[in-house]
Structures are given as C-alpha cells and as structure tokens.
C-alpha cells in the first residue's frame, strides 16, 4: 500500500480546514490574553506572578498533547506503514518541542518567586525536561539517515518507547509528593479553580490547540511536496544506474 497511498485527499481536506483553525486561533488567543492578563484578578497569595499560569499551563498541556499525537502517528506508521503518519509525526515534533520549552522556561521563571529556586530535581520537572530531550532526540534521529523512510521508522520507535514519559509527567505529582502542585483544573469532578481564572485558562488552552492544528497542517503539506520532489529526483538518479557505461 505504501507506494499507492495518495496525498491528494489530505491536501484537499487541509485546504478546507486551515482558514477556520487560523481564525479561531487569533480570536481565542486574543480573548484569552485579554481576560488573563488584564481582566482577571491577581492571586491573593501569588500576586501578579500568577499570570504566568495562563501561558505555563496551556503550553504544558500542549507539550504533552503534541507528543501523544506524535506517538499515535508513529504507531500508525509502524503498523500500517501509512506514509502520511510519518509526515505527521515529523511535523508535530518541532511544535511540541516549542511548547515544552515554553513550559519549562515559564515554569522556572515562576519557580523563582514561588519556590525560591529556578530548578529542582523534582519528579515532574525532571520528567518534563526529559520530554524536551525526547523531542530533540526524535528530531535529530529522523534527519540522521540518508534514507528518509529509515529515519522515520527509527524516530517512530523512539517516540513510542518515550510515550511512557507522558503518564509519568501527568501523575508524577500524585505518585510522589513533589514541589510542583497537583492537578486542580484537570482534576476529575469539579475543577477547584475560581472561574475568573479558569475561563481565560481554558480559552488559552483552546487557542494553543487550534494554533497547533494550524501549524501542523501547514508543515505536513510542505513535507508532502518535499517528498514528491525527492521521489522525482531519485527516479532520475537511478534511472539507468544499473547499466554499465550508458
């Protein structure tokens, strides 16, 4: 099936979705930032620094969400060999790395006032740092082979193996008593956060998500085109490679 898979359908779909996600991103982020940075109250104990949360938490969520997407795509690519899945994984990685990086930076910026330290080898922090390295490793690996399909497979395996890290990040706060505070928004049952903070937080979360979708679609599209070009060049290179002297 591998050589007969056809990108045309995907391209058509992307063309339809893209404008909507793009617009949604702008609106959601706009509203979220306004509510978060201006309209919402400062925290009674954390003061203004609480506003870091509106970037920190969504980027943390997306950092993990991207990786889950990547791992899923990798599974599809390995099992069904669907070429599109490879491209999705490849395209998702840098975005996720970006989110994770932002989460780490905002986190440690926030940690300075809250915990009096930029960094601690706390379970969640460590696992998040490892997530970043997993992204970097994935990106390095996928480009490290002369044969792109081979690179994609190797990277996919890494992505799957690294997936254990996600639940660790998520639940580390519950398993070990960490510096980092446990889930309050994503707690099952009623969230234990004041709506004035919850609403902008969720808006930002949605905005980040649509942003992710938009960029992902764009990247996959360009990957497809690149692959086509490569294929053409290869067929030409090898065209008569097997006959001696012309």
């Amino acid at each position: 099936m591998h050589r007969f898979a056809n990108p045309a359908r995907f391209l058509r779909l992307a063309a339809v979705i893209l404008p909507w996600t793009a617009i949604a991103t702008v609106l959601l982020l706009g509203a979220g930032l306004y509510l978060g940075l201006i309209a919402s109250p400062a925290d009674y104990q954390q003061g203004e620094t609480v506003r870091i949360m509106y970037v920190h938490v969504p980027s943390a969520w997306l950092g993990m969400a991207c990786y889950s997407t990547m791992a899923f795509a990798s599974a599809v690519a390995l099992i069904w060999k669907h070429p599109l899945a490879d491209l999705v994984g490849k395209s998702a990685a840098p975005i996720g790395a970006g989110f994770t990086f932002v989460c780490l930076v905002t986190g440690s910026l926030w940690g300075r006032p809250m915990w009096g330290t930029w960094w601690a080898w706390d379970a969640r922090l460590t696992s998040m740092l490892i997530l970043l390295f997993l992204y970097l490793g994935y990106m390095a690996l996928i480009n490290a082979f002369d044969d792109p399909t081979r690179g994609a497979r190797a990277a996919a395996i890494l992505a799957l193996a690294g997936a254990v890290n996600i639940p660790i990040i998520k639940f580390s706060v519950d398993w070990w008593n960490t510096l980092h505070q446990p889930a309050s928004v994503t707690k099952f049952g009623m969230p234990s956060v004041d709506p004035a903070m919850l609403v902008p937080l969720l808006l930002m979360g949605l905005g980040f998500t649509t942003f992710f979708v938009t960029v992902l679609l764009l990247r996959v599209r360009s990957e497809i085109i690149a692959a086509k070009i490569r294929a053409i060049r290869l067929t030409q290179i090898h065209a008569s490679s097997s006959q001696v002297a012309g």
Binding site: M1, H2, R3, F4, A5, N6, P7, K81, P83, D146, D147, P148, T149, A227, K228, R230, A231, I232, L234, T235, Q236, H238, A239, S240, S241, S242, Q243, V244
Partner: protein
C-alpha cells in the same frame, strides 16, 4: 541430514520492493516447491540481493505477500526463520573465534540441539576440518566463504537463500557446493541462488530480475 522435510510450497504474488524510496522491482510472482530451485540473474543493482533479503524476511515487501503453504510468513517470523538459511555478501565470521567456534555458535543458534558431530561433518564436507582450530582472521577469502556455507549443513533447514555463494570459491569447492545443493534438493529442500558466474543447478527455473524493473519515470507510483 535434511531427510524428514515434508513437501511444501513457498510462494509470493505481485511482490514489489522499494529501497531508498525507489522501486527496485514490482509485480513479481514467485513459486517454489520442495526439491525445486530458482536461479536469480540480472545486472548489478537489479535487485537480486533485495529479493533474497525479502524472501528471508529481512525486508518487508512494499506490496504483495510471502506465503508458506498458503499462510503469510510474516505472521510467524520465528517459524519462517527456522525454515531458512540465508547466505549474504558478508561472511559473519568473528576474527578472534576459531573456525569451529564460529560455526558452532551459528549452528546452536539456529538449532540448540545441533551437536558437535554435525558441525564436524559440515567442516569436513567443506574441507575445513583441518583448520577447525584456526582463528577466523587467518582464513583466506574462499576459506571464509566455505565456513559461511558450512552453516547450511551444520543445522538443517528446508529453504536455502544463497546470494552469490560461489564468490571466492575455487572450482573444486564450487563442485562440492553443487553436490551439496543437489543432495539438499533430493531430500526435498529448496534453493534460491543469485549469481553472475555459472553455477550448475539442474532443472532450476531462471528469473531475470531486470525483467521486473519498473519503467523509470512514473512519479505517481513512486510517491512514498
């Protein structure tokens, strides 16, 4: 040593092989029953080694399936591995291990019950028994190749996949190999052999790999 092999068929329909994003061959049908042999011919780069690796299960076909008595082989890799012996371009000989150690390792790995007796018999057939204690690094090219071929005898398996096995062999050894292959087929074994030289494989079906090379410029097909 390969007496108790039941008749079986090893077949494939509409095989296609893609390497480095490029279609090496496509729409290849393939069929082999006990006692038969196939001779792979074709210019360099036409895909002989690729086909053999594909039959061995090292490569996954881009399309088509390999069937053993009608059941897909990739369903049970171990079972398939137990059925085949693959001799590739590399001799897989450790320079610091003695000839016997090298052979015994591979034999045991293929069939844990295979004893030293069979190993010795194999080395004798290949005219290496006198070198049994010599470390691999001291072997000449042909001696290395013979040691590699000795694996075929040290642990029985119905399907032999041989990639240019006569390389570096002197004429006498080529004769020995031809004899061994005949014996193997007489006992119901199968042989797939790629070569550029002349190998005497009576009644073998010839496959010219270049017949299956797809026409260069069909981009729509090559889309990965």
């Amino acid at each position: 040593m390969t007496d108790d092999i039941p008749t079986a068929t090893f077949s494939a329909e509409n095989l296609a092989c893609v390497r480095g994003e490029r279609v090496v061959f496509a729409q290849m049908d393939f069929r082999l029953s006990s006692g038969e042999a196939v001779l792979l011919l074709g210019p360099n780069g036409s895909g002989k080694s690729s086909l053999l690796r594909l039959l061995a299960g090292l490569l996954k076909p881009a399309s088509g399936h390999l069937l053993w008595d009608g059941t897909p082989v990739l369903d049970d890799r171990e079972a398939h591995a137990a059925r085949i012996h693959y001799v590739g371009h590399h001799d897989a000989i450790k320079p610091v291990l003695s000839v016997l150690e090298n052979l015994r390792f591979w034999a045991r790995l293929h069939d844990p019950k295979s004893g030293d007796a069979t190993a010795q018999a194999a080395l004798e057939t290949m005219g290496l028994w006198r070198l049994a204690e010599v470390p691999g690094k001291l072997l000449s090219a042909g001696q290395k190749r013979r040691l590699n071929l000795a694996r075929l005898l040290a642990a029985p398996a119905p399907v032999w996949l041989l990639d240019e096995p006569t390389v570096a062999l002197d004429r006498a050894s080529v004769k020995v190999l031809e004899g061994v292959m005949a014996e193997h087929r007489a006992a119901g074994g199968m042989v797939v052999l790629s070569t550029h030289a002349d190998v005497d494989l009576p009644g073998a079906r010839e496959m010219h790999l270049d017949d299956y090379t797809p026409a260069p410029m069909d981009v729509s097909e090559v889309w990965i």
